[in-house]
Protein backbone atom coordinates (compact mmCIF):
# COMPACT_ATOMS: atom_id res chain seq x y z
CA UNK A 1 0.00 0.00 0.00
CA UNK A 2 1.04 3.50 -0.78
CA UNK A 3 0.07 5.43 2.35
CA UNK A 4 -0.02 9.18 2.90
CA UNK A 5 0.04 10.40 6.52
CA UNK A 6 -0.89 14.01 7.30
CA UNK A 7 1.14 15.43 10.16
CA UNK A 8 0.86 18.78 11.84
CA UNK A 9 2.97 20.67 14.30
CA UNK A 10 1.59 21.24 17.80
CA UNK A 11 2.93 22.82 20.96
CA UNK A 12 3.97 20.29 23.60
CA UNK A 13 1.12 20.05 26.17
CA UNK A 14 3.24 21.43 28.97
CA UNK A 15 3.88 24.66 27.00
CA UNK A 16 2.65 27.88 28.48
CA UNK A 17 0.06 29.34 26.15
CA UNK A 18 0.15 33.11 25.59
CA UNK A 19 -0.71 35.57 22.86
CA UNK A 20 0.97 38.64 21.37
CA UNK A 21 0.02 41.61 19.15
CA UNK A 22 -2.97 42.59 21.26
CA UNK A 23 -4.09 38.96 21.73
CA UNK A 24 -4.35 38.33 17.99
CA UNK A 25 -1.37 35.98 17.55
CA UNK A 26 -0.19 32.83 19.31
CA UNK A 27 3.15 33.68 20.92
CA UNK A 28 5.59 30.95 19.86
CA UNK A 29 8.42 32.30 22.01
CA UNK A 30 9.88 29.51 24.12
CA UNK A 31 7.27 27.01 22.90
CA UNK A 32 8.49 23.47 22.30
CA UNK A 33 6.85 21.96 19.20
CA UNK A 34 6.12 18.28 18.67
CA UNK A 35 4.38 16.17 16.05
CA UNK A 36 0.67 16.31 16.93
CA UNK A 37 0.31 13.19 19.13
CA UNK A 38 -2.64 11.65 17.22
CA UNK A 39 -0.71 11.95 13.95
CA UNK A 40 2.49 10.49 15.36
CA UNK A 41 1.33 7.81 17.79
CA UNK A 42 -1.62 6.47 15.91
CA UNK A 43 -1.67 7.42 12.21
CA UNK A 44 2.05 7.24 11.47
CA UNK A 45 2.84 4.17 13.57
CA UNK A 46 -0.11 2.21 12.15
CA UNK A 47 0.94 3.19 8.60
CA UNK A 48 4.43 1.85 9.33
CA UNK A 49 3.02 -1.40 10.73
CA UNK A 50 0.87 -1.88 7.62
CA UNK A 51 3.89 -1.28 5.41
CA UNK A 52 6.03 -3.70 7.44
CA UNK A 53 3.36 -6.38 7.08
CA UNK A 54 2.37 -5.86 3.46
CA UNK A 55 4.98 -3.71 1.74
CA UNK A 56 4.57 -0.30 0.13
CA UNK A 57 5.59 3.22 1.02
CA UNK A 58 4.77 5.67 3.77
CA UNK A 59 4.87 9.33 2.78
CA UNK A 60 4.24 12.08 5.29
CA UNK A 61 2.77 15.40 4.25
CA UNK A 62 2.67 18.69 6.11
CA UNK A 63 1.32 22.10 5.17
CA UNK A 64 3.58 24.61 6.84
CA UNK A 65 6.59 26.87 6.78
CA UNK A 66 10.26 25.93 6.96
CA UNK A 67 10.05 25.75 10.77
CA UNK A 68 7.99 22.57 10.37
CA UNK A 69 11.01 20.70 8.97
CA UNK A 70 12.06 19.76 12.53
CA UNK A 71 8.90 17.77 13.19
CA UNK A 72 9.00 16.32 9.68
CA UNK A 73 12.50 14.95 10.38
CA UNK A 74 11.19 13.48 13.63
CA UNK A 75 8.48 11.61 11.70
CA UNK A 76 11.10 10.41 9.20
CA UNK A 77 13.22 9.19 12.11
CA UNK A 78 10.30 7.10 13.35
CA UNK A 79 10.31 5.38 9.97
CA UNK A 80 8.42 7.19 7.18
CA UNK A 81 10.10 6.76 3.78
CA UNK A 82 9.79 10.27 2.45
CA UNK A 83 8.18 13.60 3.17
CA UNK A 84 6.41 16.42 1.39
CA UNK A 85 5.97 19.92 2.76
CA UNK A 86 3.52 22.28 1.06
CA UNK A 87 5.12 25.62 1.63
CA UNK A 88 2.58 27.94 3.23
CA UNK A 89 1.46 28.81 6.75
CA UNK A 90 -2.13 27.52 6.67
CA UNK A 91 -4.66 29.93 8.18
CA UNK A 92 -7.47 27.42 8.43
CA UNK A 93 -8.16 23.70 8.04
CA UNK A 94 -10.05 24.25 4.77
CA UNK A 95 -6.99 25.76 3.12
CA UNK A 96 -4.65 23.05 4.46
CA UNK A 97 -7.07 20.29 3.43
CA UNK A 98 -7.44 21.54 -0.13
CA UNK A 99 -3.65 21.97 -0.45
CA UNK A 100 -3.21 18.31 0.50
CA UNK A 101 -6.10 17.27 -1.76
CA UNK A 102 -4.42 18.99 -4.72
CA UNK A 103 -1.18 17.12 -4.05
CA UNK A 104 -2.93 13.77 -3.50
CA UNK A 105 -4.80 14.13 -6.81
CA UNK A 106 -1.54 14.25 -8.72
CA UNK A 107 0.06 11.38 -6.77
CA UNK A 108 -1.81 8.12 -6.31
CA UNK A 109 -2.24 6.96 -2.71
CA UNK A 110 -4.20 3.92 -1.55
CA UNK A 111 -4.81 5.22 1.93
CA UNK A 112 -4.67 8.67 3.51
CA UNK A 113 -4.43 8.88 7.30
CA UNK A 114 -4.93 11.91 9.54
CA UNK A 115 -5.00 12.32 13.30
CA UNK A 116 -8.32 12.70 15.07
CA UNK A 117 -7.63 16.36 15.77
CA UNK A 118 -4.79 18.79 16.37
CA UNK A 119 -4.22 19.65 20.01
CA UNK A 120 -3.74 23.36 19.27
CA UNK A 121 -6.91 24.35 17.43
CA UNK A 122 -8.78 21.12 18.27
CA UNK A 123 -10.89 21.53 15.19
CA UNK A 124 -11.22 17.90 14.07
CA UNK A 125 -11.81 19.30 10.60
CA UNK A 126 -9.10 18.44 8.14
CA UNK A 127 -9.81 14.71 7.60
CA UNK A 128 -13.41 15.17 6.51
CA UNK A 129 -12.52 18.17 4.35
CA UNK A 130 -9.79 16.20 2.62
CA UNK A 131 -12.10 13.25 1.95
CA UNK A 132 -14.75 15.49 0.41
CA UNK A 133 -12.12 17.42 -1.56
CA UNK A 134 -10.97 14.12 -3.08
CA UNK A 135 -14.47 12.59 -3.21
CA UNK A 136 -13.23 9.61 -1.20
CA UNK A 137 -15.03 7.69 1.55
CA UNK A 138 -14.20 8.98 5.05
CA UNK A 139 -13.95 6.78 8.13
CA UNK A 140 -13.67 9.03 11.16
CA UNK A 141 -12.33 8.22 14.61
CA UNK A 142 -10.92 4.83 13.70
CA UNK A 143 -9.45 2.92 16.64
CA UNK A 144 -8.35 -0.13 14.62
CA UNK A 145 -7.24 -0.41 11.02
CA UNK A 146 -6.44 -3.43 8.86
CA UNK A 147 -5.86 -3.95 5.18
CA UNK A 148 -6.30 -7.01 3.01
CA UNK A 149 -5.67 -6.49 -0.70
CA UNK A 150 -7.58 -3.31 -1.50
CA UNK A 151 -10.15 -3.83 1.27
CA UNK A 152 -9.75 -1.67 4.35
CA UNK A 153 -11.40 -2.75 7.60
CA UNK A 154 -11.67 -0.29 10.45
CA UNK A 155 -13.28 -0.06 13.84
CA UNK A 156 -14.73 3.38 14.42
CA UNK A 157 -16.37 5.20 17.30
CA UNK A 158 -20.02 6.06 16.84
CA UNK A 159 -22.44 7.75 19.22
CA UNK A 160 -22.84 5.36 22.13
CA UNK A 161 -20.66 2.55 20.79
CA UNK A 162 -18.27 1.16 18.21
CA UNK A 163 -18.75 -0.14 14.71
CA UNK A 164 -16.68 -2.28 12.36
CA UNK A 165 -16.78 -1.03 8.78
CA UNK A 166 -15.30 -2.02 5.45
CA UNK A 167 -14.37 0.24 2.57
CA UNK A 168 -12.48 -0.16 -0.71
CA UNK A 169 -9.23 1.79 -1.01
CA UNK A 170 -8.55 4.61 -1.66
CA UNK A 171 -10.08 6.14 1.46
CA UNK A 172 -9.37 8.76 4.11
CA UNK A 173 -9.21 7.60 7.74
CA UNK A 174 -8.89 9.74 10.88
CA UNK A 175 -7.02 7.91 13.61
CA UNK A 176 -7.72 7.82 17.36
CA UNK A 177 -6.33 6.06 20.39
CA UNK A 178 -6.17 2.28 20.25
CA UNK A 179 -4.80 1.98 16.73
CA UNK A 180 -1.12 1.62 17.62
CA UNK A 181 1.47 2.23 20.32
CA UNK A 182 3.91 5.11 20.39
CA UNK A 183 7.38 4.41 18.89
CA UNK A 184 10.48 6.17 20.12
CA UNK A 185 12.94 6.83 17.27
CA UNK A 186 16.33 5.16 17.70
CA UNK A 187 19.78 6.48 16.74
CA UNK A 188 19.76 4.67 13.41
CA UNK A 189 16.40 6.14 12.52
CA UNK A 190 17.56 9.62 13.45
CA UNK A 191 20.71 9.27 11.30
CA UNK A 192 18.73 7.84 8.37
CA UNK A 193 16.18 10.66 8.58
CA UNK A 194 18.81 13.23 7.67
CA UNK A 195 19.20 11.85 4.17
CA UNK A 196 15.60 10.83 3.45
CA UNK A 197 13.91 12.93 0.75
CA UNK A 198 11.92 15.98 1.90
CA UNK A 199 10.25 17.60 -1.10
CA UNK A 200 9.04 21.16 -0.73
CA UNK A 201 6.21 22.02 -3.11
CA UNK A 202 4.73 25.49 -3.69
CA UNK A 203 1.23 26.15 -2.34
CA UNK A 204 -1.84 26.67 -4.53
CA UNK A 205 -4.00 29.80 -4.38
CA UNK A 206 -6.80 28.80 -2.03
CA UNK A 207 -9.09 31.05 0.02
CA UNK A 208 -9.24 30.92 3.80
CA UNK A 209 -12.87 30.52 4.77
CA UNK A 210 -12.30 31.32 8.45
CA UNK A 211 -10.02 33.62 10.46
CA UNK A 212 -9.08 33.61 14.14
CA UNK A 213 -9.50 37.30 14.93
CA UNK A 214 -8.49 37.24 18.61
CA UNK A 215 -7.76 35.05 21.61
CA UNK A 216 -8.48 35.26 25.31
CA UNK A 217 -7.70 33.28 28.41
CA UNK A 218 -10.66 31.56 30.08
CA UNK A 219 -12.01 33.39 33.15
CA UNK A 220 -10.16 32.62 36.38
CA UNK A 221 -11.77 29.81 38.28
CA UNK A 222 -13.05 30.93 41.68
CA UNK A 223 -11.01 29.54 44.56
CA UNK A 224 -11.62 25.96 45.58
CA UNK A 225 -13.92 25.44 48.56
CA UNK A 226 -12.39 22.88 50.95
CA UNK A 227 -14.75 20.48 52.68
CA UNK A 228 -14.06 18.42 55.75
CA UNK A 229 -13.64 14.72 54.79
CA UNK A 230 -16.02 13.83 57.63
CA UNK A 231 -18.83 16.06 56.24
CA UNK A 232 -20.01 14.45 53.04
CA UNK A 233 -23.58 15.55 53.81
CA UNK A 234 -22.35 19.11 53.44
CA UNK A 235 -20.82 18.32 50.02
CA UNK A 236 -24.04 16.75 48.78
CA UNK A 237 -26.07 19.72 49.97
CA UNK A 238 -23.67 22.18 48.28
CA UNK A 239 -23.80 20.22 45.02
CA UNK A 240 -27.57 20.40 45.19
CA UNK A 241 -28.31 23.92 46.38
CA UNK A 242 -25.19 25.94 45.48
CA UNK A 243 -23.76 24.26 42.37
CA UNK A 244 -27.19 22.94 41.28
CA UNK A 245 -25.71 19.91 39.52
CA UNK A 246 -27.53 17.13 41.38
Amino acid sequence: MNILVCISKAPDTTSKISFSDGNTKFDENGVQFVVNPYDEWYALVRALELKEAGGGQVTIINVGGVADDAIIRKALAIGADNAVRIDTEPKDAYNAALQIAAYAKENAFDLILTGKETINYNGSQLGGMLAEGLDLPFVSLATKLDVSGSTVTAEREIIGGVQVVEVEAPAVISCAKGMAEQRIPNMRGIMAARTKPLTVVPAKEIDDLTTFVSYEMPGEKSAVKMIDPESMDELVSLLHSEAKVI
Partner: protein
Protein backbone atom coordinates in the same frame (compact mmCIF):
# COMPACT_ATOMS: atom_id res chain seq x y z
CA UNK B 1 -32.81 30.65 7.22
CA UNK B 2 -30.90 28.34 9.57
CA UNK B 3 -30.85 24.59 8.92
CA UNK B 4 -30.01 22.36 11.90
CA UNK B 5 -28.92 18.78 11.21
CA UNK B 6 -29.95 16.40 13.99
CA UNK B 7 -28.64 12.85 14.19
CA UNK B 8 -31.66 11.05 15.67
CA UNK B 9 -30.31 7.51 15.52
CA UNK B 10 -30.37 7.20 19.32
CA UNK B 11 -33.37 9.50 19.81
CA UNK B 12 -33.07 13.25 20.23
CA UNK B 13 -30.37 14.19 22.72
CA UNK B 14 -30.34 17.22 24.99
CA UNK B 15 -27.48 18.54 22.85
CA UNK B 16 -29.86 18.49 19.86
CA UNK B 17 -32.33 20.77 21.66
CA UNK B 18 -29.38 23.00 22.55
CA UNK B 19 -28.49 23.26 18.85
CA UNK B 20 -32.09 24.19 17.94
CA UNK B 21 -32.17 26.78 20.73
CA UNK B 22 -28.86 28.21 19.44
CA UNK B 23 -30.10 28.36 15.85
CA UNK B 24 -33.36 29.98 16.99
CA UNK B 25 -31.31 32.92 18.27
CA UNK B 26 -29.80 33.36 14.78
CA UNK B 27 -32.96 33.23 12.64
CA UNK B 28 -35.83 31.04 11.42
CA UNK B 29 -35.06 27.38 12.03
CA UNK B 30 -35.73 24.26 9.98
CA UNK B 31 -34.50 20.96 11.45
CA UNK B 32 -33.31 18.10 9.23
CA UNK B 33 -32.87 14.48 10.20
CA UNK B 34 -32.79 11.00 8.67
CA UNK B 35 -33.60 7.42 9.64
CA UNK B 36 -36.53 5.88 11.41
CA UNK B 37 -37.35 7.89 14.53
CA UNK B 38 -41.17 8.29 14.74
CA UNK B 39 -42.72 11.64 13.76
CA UNK B 40 -44.06 12.23 17.30
CA UNK B 41 -40.51 12.37 18.60
CA UNK B 42 -39.10 14.40 15.71
CA UNK B 43 -41.85 16.99 16.10
CA UNK B 44 -40.66 17.78 19.66
CA UNK B 45 -37.97 19.94 18.08
CA UNK B 46 -40.72 22.47 17.37
CA UNK B 47 -40.90 23.22 21.09
CA UNK B 48 -37.36 24.59 20.94
CA UNK B 49 -37.97 26.76 17.91
CA UNK B 50 -37.96 24.61 14.76
CA UNK B 51 -40.71 25.74 12.35
CA UNK B 52 -40.72 22.29 10.75
CA UNK B 53 -38.71 19.08 10.66
CA UNK B 54 -37.62 17.57 7.35
CA UNK B 55 -36.69 13.89 7.37
CA UNK B 56 -35.30 11.54 4.73
CA UNK B 57 -36.31 8.07 5.91
CA UNK B 58 -34.22 6.27 3.28
CA UNK B 59 -30.84 7.60 4.45
CA UNK B 60 -29.41 5.57 7.33
CA UNK B 61 -26.32 7.72 7.79
CA UNK B 62 -23.81 4.87 7.90
CA UNK B 63 -21.79 6.51 5.14
CA UNK B 64 -21.41 10.11 6.23
CA UNK B 65 -20.96 11.19 2.63
CA UNK B 66 -24.64 10.37 2.06
CA UNK B 67 -25.55 12.67 4.93
CA UNK B 68 -23.44 15.39 3.35
CA UNK B 69 -25.28 15.10 0.03
CA UNK B 70 -28.64 15.02 1.78
CA UNK B 71 -27.87 18.11 3.90
CA UNK B 72 -26.41 20.07 0.96
CA UNK B 73 -29.52 19.37 -1.14
CA UNK B 74 -31.93 20.46 1.59
CA UNK B 75 -29.80 23.51 2.45
CA UNK B 76 -30.11 24.57 -1.21
CA UNK B 77 -33.84 23.90 -1.53
CA UNK B 78 -34.63 25.69 1.76
CA UNK B 79 -32.28 28.60 0.97
CA UNK B 80 -30.32 28.10 4.18
CA UNK B 81 -27.37 30.44 4.66
CA UNK B 82 -26.23 28.71 7.85
CA UNK B 83 -26.13 25.04 8.84
CA UNK B 84 -25.82 24.15 12.54
CA UNK B 85 -24.55 20.79 13.86
CA UNK B 86 -24.08 19.27 17.30
CA UNK B 87 -20.32 18.92 17.81
CA UNK B 88 -20.52 15.22 18.68
CA UNK B 89 -19.01 12.19 16.93
CA UNK B 90 -21.46 12.61 14.06
CA UNK B 91 -21.16 16.38 13.63
CA UNK B 92 -17.37 16.26 13.85
CA UNK B 93 -17.26 14.04 10.77
CA UNK B 94 -20.08 15.51 8.67
CA UNK B 95 -19.65 19.27 9.20
CA UNK B 96 -16.10 19.43 7.70
CA UNK B 97 -17.22 17.45 4.63
CA UNK B 98 -20.18 19.76 4.14
CA UNK B 99 -17.87 22.76 4.47
CA UNK B 100 -15.98 21.66 1.34
CA UNK B 101 -19.13 20.67 -0.54
CA UNK B 102 -20.86 24.03 0.15
CA UNK B 103 -17.71 26.19 0.21
CA UNK B 104 -18.90 27.37 3.59
CA UNK B 105 -16.54 28.31 6.42
CA UNK B 106 -16.82 26.05 9.48
CA UNK B 107 -16.71 27.11 13.12
CA UNK B 108 -15.85 23.82 14.79
CA UNK B 109 -16.82 23.42 18.44
CA UNK B 110 -18.58 26.78 18.94
CA UNK B 111 -19.21 27.73 22.58
CA UNK B 112 -20.91 31.11 22.03
CA UNK B 113 -23.31 32.96 19.77
CA UNK B 114 -21.71 35.37 17.28
CA UNK B 115 -20.73 38.69 18.91
CA UNK B 116 -21.48 42.09 17.31
CA UNK B 117 -18.62 41.62 14.84
CA UNK B 118 -19.82 38.11 13.96
CA UNK B 119 -16.98 36.32 15.79
CA UNK B 120 -17.78 33.03 17.55
CA UNK B 121 -15.79 31.62 20.48
CA UNK B 122 -14.23 28.13 20.40
CA UNK B 123 -11.89 26.32 22.81
CA UNK B 124 -8.27 26.12 21.61
CA UNK B 125 -5.06 24.62 23.01
CA UNK B 126 -6.96 21.85 24.82
CA UNK B 127 -9.13 24.33 26.68
CA UNK B 128 -6.22 26.47 27.89
CA UNK B 129 -7.47 29.40 25.80
CA UNK B 130 -10.45 30.64 23.79
CA UNK B 131 -10.20 31.74 20.16
CA UNK B 132 -12.70 33.99 18.36
CA UNK B 133 -13.38 32.85 14.79
CA UNK B 134 -14.94 34.81 11.94
CA UNK B 135 -16.33 33.15 8.84
CA UNK B 136 -15.35 34.87 5.57
CA UNK B 137 -17.73 33.03 3.23
CA UNK B 138 -21.39 33.84 2.54
CA UNK B 139 -22.62 30.44 3.76
CA UNK B 140 -21.64 29.36 7.24
CA UNK B 141 -21.46 26.13 9.20
CA UNK B 142 -21.41 26.11 12.99
CA UNK B 143 -20.91 22.97 15.03
CA UNK B 144 -21.98 23.63 18.60
CA UNK B 145 -20.20 22.05 21.57
CA UNK B 146 -22.72 20.31 23.86
CA UNK B 147 -23.44 22.03 27.20
CA UNK B 148 -22.68 25.51 25.83
CA UNK B 149 -26.15 26.95 26.42
CA UNK B 150 -29.32 25.67 28.11
CA UNK B 151 -32.13 24.45 25.83
CA UNK B 152 -35.15 26.79 25.94
CA UNK B 153 -38.72 25.73 25.25
CA UNK B 154 -40.42 28.43 23.21
CA UNK B 155 -43.35 26.82 21.41
CA UNK B 156 -45.34 23.79 20.31
CA UNK B 157 -44.54 20.59 18.44
CA UNK B 158 -44.10 21.27 14.73
CA UNK B 159 -44.96 19.44 11.54
CA UNK B 160 -42.75 16.77 9.99
CA UNK B 161 -42.20 16.63 6.24
CA UNK B 162 -40.80 13.49 4.63
CA UNK B 163 -38.49 14.03 1.65
CA UNK B 164 -36.44 11.86 -0.62
CA UNK B 165 -33.02 13.26 -1.50
CA UNK B 166 -30.32 12.16 -3.93
CA UNK B 167 -27.97 10.88 -1.22
CA UNK B 168 -26.23 8.45 -3.57
CA UNK B 169 -24.65 5.06 -2.92
CA UNK B 170 -23.02 4.14 0.38
CA UNK B 171 -19.36 3.23 -0.08
CA UNK B 172 -18.87 2.30 3.56
CA UNK B 173 -20.19 -1.13 4.51
CA UNK B 174 -21.06 -1.75 8.16
CA UNK B 175 -20.04 -5.23 9.32
CA UNK B 176 -21.10 -4.97 12.96
CA UNK B 177 -22.24 -2.46 15.58
CA UNK B 178 -21.74 -2.70 19.35
CA UNK B 179 -23.59 -0.46 21.77
CA UNK B 180 -23.09 -1.39 25.40
CA UNK B 181 -26.51 -1.69 27.06
CA UNK B 182 -27.32 0.23 30.20
CA UNK B 183 -24.06 2.16 30.34
CA UNK B 184 -24.19 5.91 29.98
CA UNK B 185 -21.90 6.88 27.09
CA UNK B 186 -19.14 9.05 28.49
CA UNK B 187 -19.09 11.84 25.89
CA UNK B 188 -22.76 12.65 26.53
CA UNK B 189 -22.88 12.10 30.29
CA UNK B 190 -23.90 15.06 32.43
CA UNK B 191 -22.40 13.58 35.58
CA UNK B 192 -19.09 11.71 35.61
CA UNK B 193 -17.29 9.88 38.41
CA UNK B 194 -13.63 9.26 37.65
CA UNK B 195 -10.78 7.58 39.50
CA UNK B 196 -7.03 7.16 39.11
CA UNK B 197 -3.99 5.37 40.38
CA UNK B 198 -4.77 6.49 43.94
CA UNK B 199 -7.27 3.61 44.07
CA UNK B 200 -4.40 1.09 44.18
CA UNK B 201 -6.06 -1.70 42.18
CA UNK B 202 -9.02 -2.68 39.98
CA UNK B 203 -10.64 -4.57 42.87
CA UNK B 204 -11.31 -1.24 44.60
CA UNK B 205 -13.59 0.20 41.92
CA UNK B 206 -16.75 -1.17 43.54
CA UNK B 207 -17.30 1.97 45.62
CA UNK B 208 -16.70 4.17 42.55
CA UNK B 209 -19.25 2.26 40.50
CA UNK B 210 -21.68 2.46 43.40
CA UNK B 211 -21.24 6.24 43.53
CA UNK B 212 -21.80 6.49 39.77
CA UNK B 213 -24.91 4.34 39.97
CA UNK B 214 -26.38 6.34 42.85
CA UNK B 215 -25.87 9.57 40.91
CA UNK B 216 -26.82 8.18 37.49
CA UNK B 217 -23.31 9.10 36.36
CA UNK B 218 -20.91 7.60 33.82
CA UNK B 219 -17.53 6.28 34.98
CA UNK B 220 -14.16 7.49 33.69
CA UNK B 221 -10.50 7.06 34.60
CA UNK B 222 -7.00 8.49 34.17
CA UNK B 223 -4.74 7.18 31.46
CA UNK B 224 -2.33 4.99 33.49
CA UNK B 225 -5.30 3.14 34.92
CA UNK B 226 -6.52 2.27 31.40
CA UNK B 227 -2.99 1.50 30.22
CA UNK B 228 -2.39 -1.09 32.96
CA UNK B 229 -5.78 -2.63 32.26
CA UNK B 230 -7.56 -1.75 35.51
CA UNK B 231 -10.32 -0.09 33.49
CA UNK B 232 -11.47 -0.30 29.85
CA UNK B 233 -9.81 2.04 27.35
CA UNK B 234 -13.00 3.88 26.45
CA UNK B 235 -13.10 5.32 29.99
CA UNK B 236 -9.76 7.11 29.59
CA UNK B 237 -10.25 10.87 29.63
CA UNK B 238 -7.71 13.56 28.87
CA UNK B 239 -5.62 14.93 26.08
CA UNK B 240 -5.11 11.54 24.44
CA UNK B 241 -8.43 10.05 25.52
CA UNK B 242 -11.97 11.39 25.48
CA UNK B 243 -12.56 15.09 26.13
CA UNK B 244 -15.68 15.71 28.20
CA UNK B 245 -17.61 18.70 29.59
CA UNK B 246 -20.13 17.31 32.05
CA UNK B 247 -22.00 19.38 34.62
CA UNK B 248 -20.23 17.51 37.42
CA UNK B 249 -16.85 15.76 37.38
CA UNK B 250 -15.79 13.94 40.55
CA UNK B 251 -12.07 13.01 40.47
CA UNK B 252 -10.95 10.44 43.03
CA UNK B 253 -7.25 9.65 43.54
CA UNK B 254 -6.21 11.48 40.37
CA UNK B 255 -3.27 13.89 40.64
CA UNK B 256 -4.51 16.35 38.01
CA UNK B 257 -1.66 16.23 35.50
CA UNK B 258 -1.98 18.82 32.75
CA UNK B 259 -2.73 16.13 30.14
CA UNK B 260 -5.60 14.86 32.28
CA UNK B 261 -6.97 18.36 32.90
CA UNK B 262 -6.92 19.05 29.16
CA UNK B 263 -9.79 16.60 28.75
CA UNK B 264 -11.93 17.65 31.71
CA UNK B 265 -11.33 21.33 32.43
CA UNK B 266 -14.50 22.29 30.55
CA UNK B 267 -16.59 20.59 33.26
CA UNK B 268 -18.97 22.97 35.00
CA UNK B 269 -18.26 21.78 38.55
CA UNK B 270 -15.23 19.75 39.63
CA UNK B 271 -14.95 17.85 42.93
CA UNK B 272 -11.52 16.46 43.89
CA UNK B 273 -10.80 13.79 46.50
CA UNK B 274 -7.08 13.33 47.19
CA UNK B 275 -4.86 12.50 50.19
CA UNK B 276 -2.22 14.98 49.03
CA UNK B 277 -3.06 18.64 49.78
CA UNK B 278 -0.47 19.63 47.14
CA UNK B 279 -2.16 17.63 44.33
CA UNK B 280 -2.37 19.97 41.30
CA UNK B 281 -6.01 18.98 40.72
CA UNK B 282 -7.12 21.16 43.68
CA UNK B 283 -6.20 24.27 41.63
CA UNK B 284 -8.78 23.29 39.01
CA UNK B 285 -11.42 22.17 41.55
CA UNK B 286 -14.57 23.87 42.82
CA UNK B 287 -14.88 21.61 45.86
CA UNK B 288 -11.89 19.85 47.41
CA UNK B 289 -11.68 17.09 49.97
CA UNK B 290 -8.28 16.23 51.44
CA UNK B 291 -8.76 12.66 52.55
CA UNK B 292 -8.43 8.96 51.88
CA UNK B 293 -10.72 7.77 49.10
CA UNK B 294 -11.33 4.54 50.97
CA UNK B 295 -13.00 6.51 53.78
CA UNK B 296 -14.42 9.47 51.84
CA UNK B 297 -16.19 7.63 49.00
CA UNK B 298 -18.22 5.22 51.18
CA UNK B 299 -19.22 8.22 53.32
CA UNK B 300 -20.24 10.13 50.20
CA UNK B 301 -22.29 7.14 49.05
CA UNK B 302 -24.16 7.16 52.35
CA UNK B 303 -24.73 10.90 52.16
CA UNK B 304 -26.24 10.58 48.68
CA UNK B 305 -28.44 7.75 49.86
CA UNK B 306 -29.70 9.98 52.67
CA UNK B 307 -30.21 12.92 50.31
CA UNK B 308 -32.24 10.81 47.88
CA UNK B 309 -34.42 9.49 50.69
CA UNK B 310 -35.21 12.98 52.00
Amino acid sequence: MILVYINSENGISKASYEAITYANKLGDVVALSNGSLPNEELSSMGRYGATKVIVDRAVNGEDQQQLVRMIAEVAASENADTVVFVHDISGKAVAPMLSVRMNAGLVSGAISLPDDSGAIAVNVFSGKAIGNVKVNSASKIISLLPNSLPPEEVGENCSVEEVSTQAGEARIKVLSTKKPEGEIPLPEAELVVSAGRGLKGPENWGMVEELAEKLGAATACSRPVADIGWRPHHEHVGQTGVAIRPNLYIAIGISGAIQHLAGVNGSKVIVVVNTDPEAPFFKAADYGIIGDAFEVVPRLNQAIEKFKAS
